[in-house]
Protein backbone atom coordinates (compact mmCIF):
# COMPACT_ATOMS: atom_id res chain seq x y z
CA UNK A 1 0.00 0.00 0.00
CA UNK A 2 1.14 3.49 -0.78
CA UNK A 3 0.79 6.34 1.69
CA UNK A 4 -2.57 7.06 3.29
CA UNK A 5 -4.25 10.17 1.86
CA UNK A 6 -6.96 12.13 3.64
CA UNK A 7 -7.75 14.27 0.67
CA UNK A 8 -7.10 13.94 -2.99
CA UNK A 9 -8.08 16.09 -5.95
CA UNK A 10 -8.12 14.75 -9.48
CA UNK A 11 -7.61 17.17 -12.35
CA UNK A 12 -9.40 20.00 -10.59
CA UNK A 13 -10.21 22.92 -12.89
CA UNK A 14 -11.95 26.23 -12.18
CA UNK A 15 -12.65 28.71 -14.94
CA UNK A 16 -13.99 32.23 -14.49
CA UNK A 17 -15.34 33.60 -17.75
CA UNK A 18 -12.64 32.11 -19.94
CA UNK A 19 -9.89 32.68 -17.39
CA UNK A 20 -8.54 29.55 -15.72
CA UNK A 21 -7.88 30.24 -12.02
CA UNK A 22 -7.22 26.60 -11.13
CA UNK A 23 -5.68 24.56 -13.90
CA UNK A 24 -5.71 20.77 -13.69
CA UNK A 25 -4.64 20.51 -10.06
CA UNK A 26 -4.15 17.00 -8.65
CA UNK A 27 -3.24 17.22 -4.99
CA UNK A 28 -2.61 14.47 -2.48
CA UNK A 29 -2.69 15.35 1.19
CA UNK A 30 -1.10 12.70 3.35
CA UNK A 31 -2.73 11.89 6.68
CA UNK A 32 -1.01 13.55 9.64
CA UNK A 33 0.95 15.98 7.50
CA UNK A 34 1.14 19.75 7.58
CA UNK A 35 0.89 20.43 3.89
CA UNK A 36 1.66 23.95 2.65
CA UNK A 37 0.24 25.49 -0.50
CA UNK A 38 2.43 28.35 -1.66
CA UNK A 39 2.68 30.56 -4.70
CA UNK A 40 2.56 34.21 -5.76
CA UNK A 41 -0.54 36.36 -5.27
CA UNK A 42 -3.28 35.39 -7.68
CA UNK A 43 -1.85 31.88 -8.17
CA UNK A 44 -5.22 30.37 -7.22
CA UNK A 45 -4.57 29.20 -3.66
CA UNK A 46 -7.72 30.67 -2.13
CA UNK A 47 -9.71 29.41 -5.11
CA UNK A 48 -8.46 25.88 -4.39
CA UNK A 49 -9.72 26.25 -0.81
CA UNK A 50 -13.05 27.50 -2.10
CA UNK A 51 -13.33 24.46 -4.37
CA UNK A 52 -12.37 21.99 -1.64
CA UNK A 53 -15.09 23.39 0.63
CA UNK A 54 -17.59 24.00 -2.18
CA UNK A 55 -17.77 27.74 -1.69
CA UNK A 56 -17.14 27.53 -5.42
CA UNK A 57 -18.17 24.71 -7.75
CA UNK A 58 -15.37 23.17 -9.82
CA UNK A 59 -15.69 23.44 -13.57
CA UNK A 60 -14.40 19.87 -13.75
CA UNK A 61 -12.41 17.38 -11.70
CA UNK A 62 -13.05 15.34 -8.58
CA UNK A 63 -12.44 15.71 -4.87
CA UNK A 64 -11.97 12.60 -2.75
CA UNK A 65 -12.07 12.64 1.03
CA UNK A 66 -10.98 9.43 2.71
CA UNK A 67 -11.51 7.78 -0.64
CA UNK A 68 -15.11 8.98 -1.01
CA UNK A 69 -16.15 11.38 -3.74
CA UNK A 70 -17.35 14.59 -2.07
CA UNK A 71 -17.39 16.72 -5.23
CA UNK A 72 -21.17 17.07 -5.18
CA UNK A 73 -21.63 17.79 -1.47
CA UNK A 74 -22.57 21.24 -0.19
CA UNK A 75 -20.34 23.42 2.00
CA UNK A 76 -22.05 22.75 5.30
CA UNK A 77 -22.14 19.01 4.64
CA UNK A 78 -18.42 18.94 3.87
CA UNK A 79 -17.77 20.75 7.16
CA UNK A 80 -19.88 18.18 9.00
CA UNK A 81 -17.77 15.42 7.48
CA UNK A 82 -14.68 16.93 9.11
CA UNK A 83 -13.12 19.32 6.59
CA UNK A 84 -13.17 22.74 8.25
CA UNK A 85 -11.66 25.86 6.75
CA UNK A 86 -10.60 29.27 7.95
CA UNK A 87 -10.70 32.35 5.78
CA UNK A 88 -8.00 34.69 4.52
CA UNK A 89 -9.67 37.56 6.37
CA UNK A 90 -10.23 36.60 9.98
CA UNK A 91 -13.49 34.73 10.40
CA UNK A 92 -15.01 35.42 13.79
CA UNK A 93 -18.43 36.52 15.00
CA UNK A 94 -17.47 40.04 16.09
CA UNK A 95 -20.43 40.96 18.29
CA UNK A 96 -20.65 37.68 20.13
CA UNK A 97 -18.44 37.10 23.13
CA UNK A 98 -15.22 35.13 22.74
CA UNK A 99 -16.80 32.23 24.63
CA UNK A 100 -19.91 32.30 22.42
CA UNK A 101 -17.74 32.12 19.31
CA UNK A 102 -16.39 28.74 20.37
CA UNK A 103 -19.72 27.59 21.75
CA UNK A 104 -21.43 28.08 18.39
CA UNK A 105 -19.12 25.42 17.00
CA UNK A 106 -19.64 23.06 19.96
CA UNK A 107 -23.41 23.58 19.79
CA UNK A 108 -23.83 21.98 16.38
CA UNK A 109 -23.32 18.43 17.60
CA UNK A 110 -25.84 18.94 20.44
CA UNK A 111 -28.68 18.67 17.93
CA UNK A 112 -30.66 21.51 19.49
CA UNK A 113 -29.82 24.22 17.01
CA UNK A 114 -33.39 24.51 15.73
CA UNK A 115 -34.90 24.59 19.23
CA UNK A 116 -36.30 28.12 19.34
CA UNK A 117 -38.53 27.35 22.31
CA UNK A 118 -35.66 26.47 24.67
CA UNK A 119 -33.63 28.92 26.71
CA UNK A 120 -30.06 29.47 25.61
CA UNK A 121 -29.12 28.44 29.16
CA UNK A 122 -29.14 24.85 27.91
CA UNK A 123 -25.88 25.79 26.17
CA UNK A 124 -24.14 26.61 29.46
CA UNK A 125 -23.11 22.99 29.85
CA UNK A 126 -20.74 23.57 26.93
CA UNK A 127 -18.93 26.41 28.71
CA UNK A 128 -16.29 24.25 30.38
CA UNK A 129 -15.26 22.66 27.11
CA UNK A 130 -15.27 26.10 25.43
CA UNK A 131 -12.99 27.56 28.10
CA UNK A 132 -10.71 24.55 27.75
CA UNK A 133 -10.40 25.21 24.03
CA UNK A 134 -9.76 28.90 24.64
CA UNK A 135 -7.04 28.01 27.12
CA UNK A 136 -5.42 25.71 24.57
CA UNK A 137 -4.88 28.71 22.28
CA UNK A 138 -3.89 31.08 25.05
CA UNK A 139 -7.19 32.95 25.28
CA UNK A 140 -8.30 31.61 28.66
CA UNK A 141 -8.47 35.09 30.14
CA UNK A 142 -10.56 36.53 27.33
CA UNK A 143 -13.64 34.28 27.52
CA UNK A 144 -15.98 37.09 28.56
CA UNK A 145 -14.57 39.72 26.20
CA UNK A 146 -16.40 40.97 23.16
CA UNK A 147 -14.70 39.60 20.07
CA UNK A 148 -14.41 42.94 18.23
CA UNK A 149 -12.15 44.17 21.03
CA UNK A 150 -9.54 41.43 20.49
CA UNK A 151 -6.21 42.14 18.78
CA UNK A 152 -5.75 40.73 15.30
CA UNK A 153 -3.48 37.94 16.53
CA UNK A 154 -5.98 36.97 19.20
CA UNK A 155 -8.79 36.89 16.64
CA UNK A 156 -6.83 34.42 14.55
CA UNK A 157 -6.17 32.29 17.61
CA UNK A 158 -9.90 32.39 18.42
CA UNK A 159 -10.62 31.25 14.89
CA UNK A 160 -8.38 28.24 15.41
CA UNK A 161 -10.05 27.44 18.74
CA UNK A 162 -13.46 27.61 17.05
CA UNK A 163 -12.29 25.32 14.27
CA UNK A 164 -10.79 22.89 16.79
CA UNK A 165 -14.14 22.73 18.60
CA UNK A 166 -15.44 20.74 15.63
CA UNK A 167 -12.58 18.28 16.00
CA UNK A 168 -11.91 18.39 12.27
CA UNK A 169 -9.94 15.65 10.64
CA UNK A 170 -8.62 18.11 8.08
CA UNK A 171 -8.06 21.79 8.81
CA UNK A 172 -7.67 24.25 5.96
CA UNK A 173 -5.94 27.47 7.02
CA UNK A 174 -5.78 30.36 4.54
CA UNK A 175 -2.80 32.60 5.37
CA UNK A 176 -3.12 32.28 9.15
CA UNK A 177 -0.20 34.64 9.83
CA UNK A 178 -1.00 37.27 7.23
CA UNK A 179 -0.78 40.85 8.46
CA UNK A 180 0.80 39.93 11.80
CA UNK A 181 3.86 41.28 13.60
CA UNK A 182 6.84 38.95 14.19
CA UNK A 183 5.82 37.92 17.70
CA UNK A 184 2.27 37.01 16.72
CA UNK A 185 3.57 35.05 13.74
CA UNK A 186 5.67 32.86 16.01
CA UNK A 187 2.82 32.38 18.47
CA UNK A 188 0.42 31.29 15.74
CA UNK A 189 3.04 29.07 14.10
CA UNK A 190 3.66 27.30 17.42
CA UNK A 191 -0.08 26.97 17.87
CA UNK A 192 -0.49 25.34 14.47
CA UNK A 193 2.32 22.94 15.28
CA UNK A 194 0.62 22.09 18.55
CA UNK A 195 -2.85 21.47 17.08
CA UNK A 196 -1.45 19.41 14.20
CA UNK A 197 -0.84 16.49 16.58
CA UNK A 198 -3.88 14.37 15.79
CA UNK A 199 -4.95 15.83 12.50
CA UNK A 200 -4.00 16.87 9.00
CA UNK A 201 -3.51 20.51 8.04
CA UNK A 202 -3.48 22.12 4.63
CA UNK A 203 -2.34 25.72 4.84
CA UNK A 204 -1.73 28.59 2.50
CA UNK A 205 1.24 30.54 3.81
CA UNK A 206 3.31 33.39 2.44
CA UNK A 207 5.84 33.48 5.23
CA UNK A 208 8.59 31.09 4.09
CA UNK A 209 10.11 31.00 7.54
CA UNK A 210 6.84 29.57 8.86
CA UNK A 211 6.63 27.16 5.93
CA UNK A 212 10.15 25.87 6.50
CA UNK A 213 9.41 25.40 10.18
CA UNK A 214 6.05 23.64 9.84
CA UNK A 215 5.50 22.00 6.50
CA UNK A 216 6.09 18.29 5.87
CA UNK A 217 5.13 18.70 2.24
CA UNK A 218 4.88 21.74 -0.04
CA UNK A 219 2.95 22.29 -3.25
CA UNK A 220 3.85 25.33 -5.34
CA UNK A 221 1.09 26.84 -7.46
CA UNK A 222 1.73 29.20 -10.32
CA UNK A 223 -0.99 30.66 -12.55
CA UNK A 224 -3.40 28.04 -11.30
CA UNK A 225 -1.21 25.02 -12.04
CA UNK A 226 1.14 22.96 -9.89
CA UNK A 227 4.72 24.03 -10.56
CA UNK A 228 6.41 21.52 -8.28
CA UNK A 229 6.00 19.56 -5.05
CA UNK A 230 8.23 18.19 -2.32
CA UNK A 231 9.75 19.00 1.05
CA UNK A 232 11.23 22.41 1.82
CA UNK A 233 14.80 21.55 0.71
CA UNK A 234 13.67 20.17 -2.65
CA UNK A 235 11.22 22.94 -3.40
CA UNK A 236 13.41 25.84 -2.32
CA UNK A 237 16.31 24.52 -4.37
CA UNK A 238 14.23 24.45 -7.54
CA UNK A 239 15.33 27.35 -9.78
CA UNK A 240 11.82 27.73 -11.23
CA UNK A 241 10.46 28.24 -7.73
CA UNK A 242 13.14 30.77 -6.92
CA UNK A 243 12.22 32.64 -10.06
CA UNK A 244 8.45 32.34 -9.82
CA UNK A 245 7.88 32.59 -6.15
CA UNK A 246 10.92 33.79 -4.27
CA UNK A 247 11.53 36.52 -6.84
CA UNK A 248 8.07 37.86 -6.26
CA UNK A 249 8.41 37.47 -2.51
CA UNK A 250 11.62 39.49 -2.45
CA UNK A 251 9.98 42.20 -4.52
CA UNK A 252 6.99 42.23 -2.21
CA UNK A 253 9.10 42.59 0.88
CA UNK A 254 10.99 45.42 -0.71
CA UNK A 255 7.78 47.25 -1.60
Amino acid sequence: MSADYVLETQNLIKEFKGFTAVDDVSLKIQRGHIHALIGPNGAGKTTVFNLLTKFLTPTSGRILYNGHDITSLQSAAIARKGVVRSFQISAVFPHLSVLENVRIALQRKEGNSFHFWKSEKVLDKLNDRAVELLESVGLGNFAGAKTVDLSYGHKRALEIATTLALEPELMLLDEPTQGMGHEDVDVVADLIKKVSKDRTILMVEHNLHVVSKLADQITVLQRGAILTEGDYETVSADPRVQEAYLGVAVEENGA
Partner: protein, 308 residues
Amino acid sequence: MKISKLSIVLLGVALVAPFVMYPVLLMKILCFALFASAFNLLLGFVGLLSFGHAIFLGTGGYVTGYLVMNSGLSPLLGILAGTAAAAALGAVYGKLSVKREGIYFAMVTLALAQLMFFVFLQAPFTGGENGLQGIPRGFLFGFIDLSDNLNMYYFVLAIFLFGFWVINRTIHSPFGQVLKAIRENEPRATSLGYNVNDYKWAAFVISAALSGLAGSTKTLVFQLASLTDVHWHMSGEVVLMTLVGGMGTIFGPLVGAAAIVGLQNFLSGGELGNYVHIIMGLIFIVCVLAFRSGIVGEIQKIVKRNFS
Protein backbone atom coordinates in the same frame (compact mmCIF):
# COMPACT_ATOMS: atom_id res chain seq x y z
CA MET B 1 -32.02 42.05 35.41
CA LYS B 2 -32.59 45.65 34.33
CA ILE B 3 -34.70 44.46 31.44
CA SER B 4 -36.97 42.34 33.60
CA LYS B 5 -37.62 45.23 36.03
CA LEU B 6 -38.45 47.38 33.05
CA SER B 7 -40.79 44.67 31.77
CA ILE B 8 -42.71 44.61 35.03
CA VAL B 9 -43.16 48.38 34.96
CA LEU B 10 -44.32 48.24 31.34
CA LEU B 11 -46.75 45.43 32.13
CA GLY B 12 -48.20 47.52 34.97
CA VAL B 13 -48.63 50.45 32.59
CA ALA B 14 -50.28 48.20 30.00
CA LEU B 15 -52.76 46.88 32.57
CA VAL B 16 -54.01 50.33 33.65
CA ALA B 17 -53.62 52.07 30.28
CA PRO B 18 -57.18 51.47 28.97
CA PHE B 19 -58.56 53.46 31.90
CA VAL B 20 -56.51 56.47 30.83
CA MET B 21 -56.42 56.16 27.05
CA TYR B 22 -58.79 55.10 24.30
CA PRO B 23 -58.63 51.25 24.26
CA VAL B 24 -58.97 50.93 20.47
CA LEU B 25 -55.87 53.08 19.93
CA LEU B 26 -53.99 51.01 22.48
CA MET B 27 -55.06 47.79 20.77
CA LYS B 28 -53.88 49.17 17.44
CA ILE B 29 -50.51 49.97 18.99
CA LEU B 30 -50.24 46.46 20.46
CA CYS B 31 -51.03 44.83 17.12
CA PHE B 32 -48.45 46.91 15.30
CA ALA B 33 -45.92 46.42 18.10
CA LEU B 34 -46.27 42.66 17.62
CA PHE B 35 -46.04 43.01 13.84
CA ALA B 36 -42.90 45.17 14.10
CA SER B 37 -41.32 42.79 16.63
CA ALA B 38 -41.93 39.87 14.27
CA PHE B 39 -40.41 41.84 11.42
CA ASN B 40 -37.44 42.81 13.60
CA LEU B 41 -36.73 39.14 14.28
CA LEU B 42 -35.70 38.91 10.63
CA LEU B 43 -34.15 42.33 10.09
CA GLY B 44 -32.43 42.80 13.43
CA PHE B 45 -31.43 39.25 14.29
CA VAL B 46 -30.87 37.53 10.95
CA GLY B 47 -30.05 40.58 8.84
CA LEU B 48 -32.82 39.95 6.30
CA LEU B 49 -34.77 42.97 5.04
CA SER B 50 -38.17 41.69 3.90
CA PHE B 51 -40.01 44.28 1.87
CA GLY B 52 -43.27 42.39 1.63
CA HIS B 53 -44.10 41.62 5.22
CA ALA B 54 -47.55 43.20 5.07
CA ILE B 55 -48.73 40.19 3.09
CA PHE B 56 -48.47 38.03 6.22
CA LEU B 57 -50.27 40.61 8.34
CA GLY B 58 -53.03 40.86 5.74
CA THR B 59 -53.32 37.14 5.04
CA GLY B 60 -53.86 36.52 8.74
CA GLY B 61 -56.52 39.23 8.74
CA TYR B 62 -58.43 38.01 5.68
CA VAL B 63 -58.44 34.36 6.72
CA THR B 64 -59.57 35.14 10.25
CA GLY B 65 -62.19 37.63 9.03
CA TYR B 66 -63.61 35.28 6.43
CA LEU B 67 -63.82 32.25 8.72
CA VAL B 68 -65.28 34.13 11.68
CA MET B 69 -67.86 35.75 9.45
CA ASN B 70 -68.81 32.83 7.21
CA SER B 71 -67.98 29.67 9.11
CA GLY B 72 -68.92 30.91 12.55
CA LEU B 73 -65.48 30.13 13.97
CA SER B 74 -64.84 31.33 17.52
CA PRO B 75 -62.46 34.30 17.80
CA LEU B 76 -59.66 32.14 19.19
CA LEU B 77 -59.96 29.48 16.46
CA GLY B 78 -60.27 32.23 13.86
CA ILE B 79 -57.01 33.77 15.03
CA LEU B 80 -55.32 30.37 15.08
CA ALA B 81 -56.46 29.71 11.51
CA GLY B 82 -55.24 33.13 10.34
CA THR B 83 -51.88 32.57 12.01
CA ALA B 84 -51.56 29.12 10.45
CA ALA B 85 -52.39 30.51 6.99
CA ALA B 86 -49.72 33.20 7.34
CA ALA B 87 -47.21 30.57 8.50
CA ALA B 88 -48.03 28.37 5.50
CA LEU B 89 -47.60 31.29 3.10
CA GLY B 90 -44.37 32.16 4.91
CA ALA B 91 -43.13 28.59 4.46
CA VAL B 92 -43.58 28.84 0.69
CA TYR B 93 -42.35 32.41 0.31
CA GLY B 94 -39.42 31.74 2.62
CA LYS B 95 -38.32 28.78 0.48
CA LEU B 96 -38.37 31.03 -2.58
CA SER B 97 -36.57 33.99 -1.03
CA VAL B 98 -33.98 33.06 1.62
CA LYS B 99 -31.47 31.89 -0.97
CA ARG B 100 -31.20 35.47 -2.23
CA GLU B 101 -28.89 37.95 -0.60
CA GLY B 102 -29.23 41.61 0.34
CA ILE B 103 -31.23 43.74 -2.06
CA TYR B 104 -32.30 40.69 -4.09
CA PHE B 105 -33.97 39.22 -1.03
CA ALA B 106 -35.87 42.49 -0.54
CA MET B 107 -36.93 42.50 -4.20
CA VAL B 108 -38.10 38.88 -4.20
CA THR B 109 -40.16 39.39 -1.04
CA LEU B 110 -41.71 42.53 -2.53
CA ALA B 111 -42.55 40.75 -5.80
CA LEU B 112 -44.09 37.75 -4.04
CA ALA B 113 -46.14 40.04 -1.82
CA GLN B 114 -47.45 41.97 -4.84
CA LEU B 115 -48.47 38.69 -6.44
CA MET B 116 -50.61 37.84 -3.41
CA PHE B 117 -51.91 41.42 -3.28
CA PHE B 118 -53.52 40.92 -6.68
CA VAL B 119 -54.99 37.63 -5.55
CA PHE B 120 -56.66 39.41 -2.63
CA LEU B 121 -57.78 42.22 -4.95
CA GLN B 122 -59.42 39.84 -7.44
CA ALA B 123 -60.59 36.91 -5.32
CA PRO B 124 -64.37 36.77 -4.83
CA PHE B 125 -64.21 36.12 -1.07
CA THR B 126 -62.20 39.18 -0.03
CA GLY B 127 -64.70 41.87 -0.94
CA GLY B 128 -62.34 43.56 -3.40
CA GLU B 129 -61.89 47.28 -2.78
CA ASN B 130 -64.40 47.25 0.10
CA GLY B 131 -62.74 44.42 1.99
CA LEU B 132 -64.57 42.39 4.62
CA GLN B 133 -66.65 44.61 6.87
CA GLY B 134 -68.65 44.04 10.02
CA ILE B 135 -66.68 41.04 11.17
CA PRO B 136 -68.09 40.01 14.57
CA ARG B 137 -65.69 39.93 17.50
CA GLY B 138 -67.72 37.15 19.11
CA PHE B 139 -67.33 35.59 22.52
CA LEU B 140 -64.04 34.36 23.96
CA PHE B 141 -64.41 30.80 25.37
CA GLY B 142 -68.09 31.22 24.53
CA PHE B 143 -68.90 33.64 27.34
CA ILE B 144 -66.56 36.67 27.43
CA ASP B 145 -68.18 39.33 25.26
CA LEU B 146 -65.43 40.82 23.10
CA SER B 147 -67.62 43.56 21.73
CA ASP B 148 -66.84 45.21 25.06
CA ASN B 149 -63.66 47.20 24.37
CA LEU B 150 -62.15 46.56 27.77
CA ASN B 151 -62.58 42.78 27.45
CA MET B 152 -61.16 42.95 23.95
CA TYR B 153 -58.22 44.99 25.18
CA TYR B 154 -57.12 42.39 27.71
CA PHE B 155 -57.56 39.64 25.13
CA VAL B 156 -55.32 41.58 22.72
CA LEU B 157 -52.81 42.26 25.49
CA ALA B 158 -52.64 38.54 26.27
CA ILE B 159 -52.03 37.72 22.60
CA PHE B 160 -49.39 40.41 22.36
CA LEU B 161 -47.59 39.12 25.45
CA PHE B 162 -47.63 35.59 24.07
CA GLY B 163 -46.22 36.70 20.70
CA PHE B 164 -43.63 38.92 22.32
CA TRP B 165 -42.56 36.08 24.59
CA VAL B 166 -42.14 33.74 21.61
CA ILE B 167 -39.93 36.30 19.86
CA ASN B 168 -37.80 36.86 22.94
CA ARG B 169 -37.44 33.20 23.58
CA THR B 170 -36.44 32.64 19.95
CA ILE B 171 -33.78 35.34 20.18
CA HIS B 172 -32.40 33.85 23.39
CA SER B 173 -32.52 30.20 22.38
CA PRO B 174 -29.94 27.82 20.87
CA PHE B 175 -31.63 28.59 17.54
CA GLY B 176 -31.25 32.33 18.18
CA GLN B 177 -27.52 31.85 18.77
CA VAL B 178 -27.16 30.34 15.31
CA LEU B 179 -29.21 33.20 13.81
CA LYS B 180 -26.87 35.74 15.38
CA ALA B 181 -23.86 33.84 14.07
CA ILE B 182 -25.37 33.92 10.56
CA ARG B 183 -26.00 37.66 10.87
CA GLU B 184 -22.45 38.23 12.03
CA ASN B 185 -20.60 36.11 9.51
CA GLU B 186 -22.57 33.89 7.18
CA PRO B 187 -19.67 32.13 5.39
CA ARG B 188 -18.15 31.26 8.75
CA ALA B 189 -21.44 29.81 9.99
CA THR B 190 -21.51 27.68 6.83
CA SER B 191 -17.94 26.55 7.33
CA LEU B 192 -18.89 25.40 10.84
CA GLY B 193 -21.40 23.06 9.24
CA TYR B 194 -24.65 25.01 9.51
CA ASN B 195 -27.01 24.95 6.51
CA VAL B 196 -27.67 28.66 6.83
CA ASN B 197 -30.63 28.72 4.45
CA ASP B 198 -32.54 26.25 6.61
CA TYR B 199 -32.09 28.51 9.64
CA LYS B 200 -33.09 31.61 7.70
CA TRP B 201 -36.16 29.77 6.45
CA ALA B 202 -37.22 28.71 9.94
CA ALA B 203 -36.82 32.30 11.18
CA PHE B 204 -38.84 33.50 8.19
CA VAL B 205 -41.71 31.14 9.02
CA ILE B 206 -41.75 32.17 12.70
CA SER B 207 -41.75 35.82 11.68
CA ALA B 208 -44.53 35.29 9.12
CA ALA B 209 -46.66 33.36 11.62
CA LEU B 210 -46.39 36.08 14.26
CA SER B 211 -47.09 38.78 11.67
CA GLY B 212 -50.20 36.79 10.81
CA LEU B 213 -51.11 36.61 14.49
CA ALA B 214 -50.87 40.40 14.66
CA GLY B 215 -53.03 40.78 11.54
CA SER B 216 -55.66 38.30 12.71
CA THR B 217 -55.96 40.09 16.02
CA LYS B 218 -56.11 43.50 14.37
CA THR B 219 -58.94 42.29 12.12
CA LEU B 220 -61.04 41.39 15.13
CA VAL B 221 -60.24 44.71 16.83
CA PHE B 222 -61.40 46.80 13.86
CA GLN B 223 -63.89 44.19 12.60
CA LEU B 224 -62.39 44.82 9.20
CA ALA B 225 -60.01 43.16 6.73
CA SER B 226 -58.98 45.33 3.81
CA LEU B 227 -56.40 45.83 1.08
CA THR B 228 -54.61 48.42 3.24
CA ASP B 229 -53.12 45.59 5.27
CA VAL B 230 -51.61 43.80 2.26
CA HIS B 231 -50.47 46.93 0.44
CA TRP B 232 -46.76 47.64 0.04
CA HIS B 233 -47.30 50.90 1.96
CA MET B 234 -47.89 48.73 5.01
CA SER B 235 -44.68 46.81 4.31
CA GLY B 236 -42.87 50.15 4.28
CA GLU B 237 -44.54 51.27 7.47
CA VAL B 238 -43.26 48.30 9.45
CA VAL B 239 -39.74 49.02 8.21
CA LEU B 240 -40.20 52.61 9.43
CA MET B 241 -41.51 51.54 12.85
CA THR B 242 -38.60 49.17 13.36
CA LEU B 243 -35.97 51.69 12.29
CA VAL B 244 -37.48 54.53 14.33
CA GLY B 245 -37.64 52.35 17.44
CA GLY B 246 -34.28 50.66 16.95
CA MET B 247 -33.71 47.49 14.94
CA GLY B 248 -32.01 44.59 16.65
CA THR B 249 -33.24 45.74 20.06
CA ILE B 250 -36.00 43.99 22.00
CA PHE B 251 -38.08 47.06 22.85
CA GLY B 252 -37.30 49.13 19.75
CA PRO B 253 -40.19 47.84 17.64
CA LEU B 254 -42.65 48.51 20.51
CA VAL B 255 -41.47 52.09 20.87
CA GLY B 256 -41.41 52.56 17.10
CA ALA B 257 -44.93 51.20 16.67
CA ALA B 258 -46.26 53.38 19.50
CA ALA B 259 -44.52 56.45 18.06
CA ILE B 260 -45.72 55.97 14.49
CA VAL B 261 -49.28 54.88 15.32
CA GLY B 262 -49.54 57.68 17.91
CA LEU B 263 -48.26 60.25 15.46
CA GLN B 264 -50.59 59.10 12.68
CA ASN B 265 -53.49 59.26 15.08
CA PHE B 266 -52.50 62.76 16.21
CA LEU B 267 -51.98 64.06 12.67
CA SER B 268 -55.15 62.56 11.20
CA GLY B 269 -57.22 64.51 13.69
CA GLY B 270 -55.66 67.90 12.90
CA GLU B 271 -55.01 70.23 10.01
CA LEU B 272 -51.84 68.36 9.06
CA GLY B 273 -53.89 65.29 8.11
CA ASN B 274 -53.13 65.71 4.41
CA TYR B 275 -49.42 65.71 5.00
CA VAL B 276 -49.14 62.41 6.88
CA HIS B 277 -47.15 60.72 4.12
CA ILE B 278 -44.74 63.62 3.74
CA ILE B 279 -44.14 63.79 7.48
CA MET B 280 -43.56 60.00 7.65
CA GLY B 281 -41.11 60.33 4.78
CA LEU B 282 -39.21 63.08 6.57
CA ILE B 283 -39.04 61.01 9.76
CA PHE B 284 -37.67 58.14 7.73
CA ILE B 285 -34.94 60.31 6.22
CA VAL B 286 -33.96 61.82 9.57
CA CYS B 287 -33.79 58.37 11.12
CA VAL B 288 -31.62 56.90 8.40
CA LEU B 289 -29.28 59.89 8.34
CA ALA B 290 -29.01 60.87 12.00
CA PHE B 291 -30.40 58.19 14.32
CA ARG B 292 -29.21 54.96 12.76
CA SER B 293 -29.83 52.98 15.91
CA GLY B 294 -33.33 54.34 16.54
CA ILE B 295 -34.85 55.67 19.76
CA VAL B 296 -34.09 52.62 21.91
CA GLY B 297 -30.66 52.16 20.33
CA GLU B 298 -29.71 55.78 21.09
CA ILE B 299 -30.95 55.47 24.68
CA GLN B 300 -28.91 52.29 25.13
CA LYS B 301 -25.82 54.13 23.91
CA ILE B 302 -26.37 56.97 26.39
CA VAL B 303 -26.95 54.54 29.26
CA LYS B 304 -23.80 52.63 28.32
CA ARG B 305 -21.73 55.82 28.11
CA ASN B 306 -22.85 57.15 31.49
CA PHE B 307 -23.34 54.09 33.64
CA SER B 308 -20.67 51.64 32.64
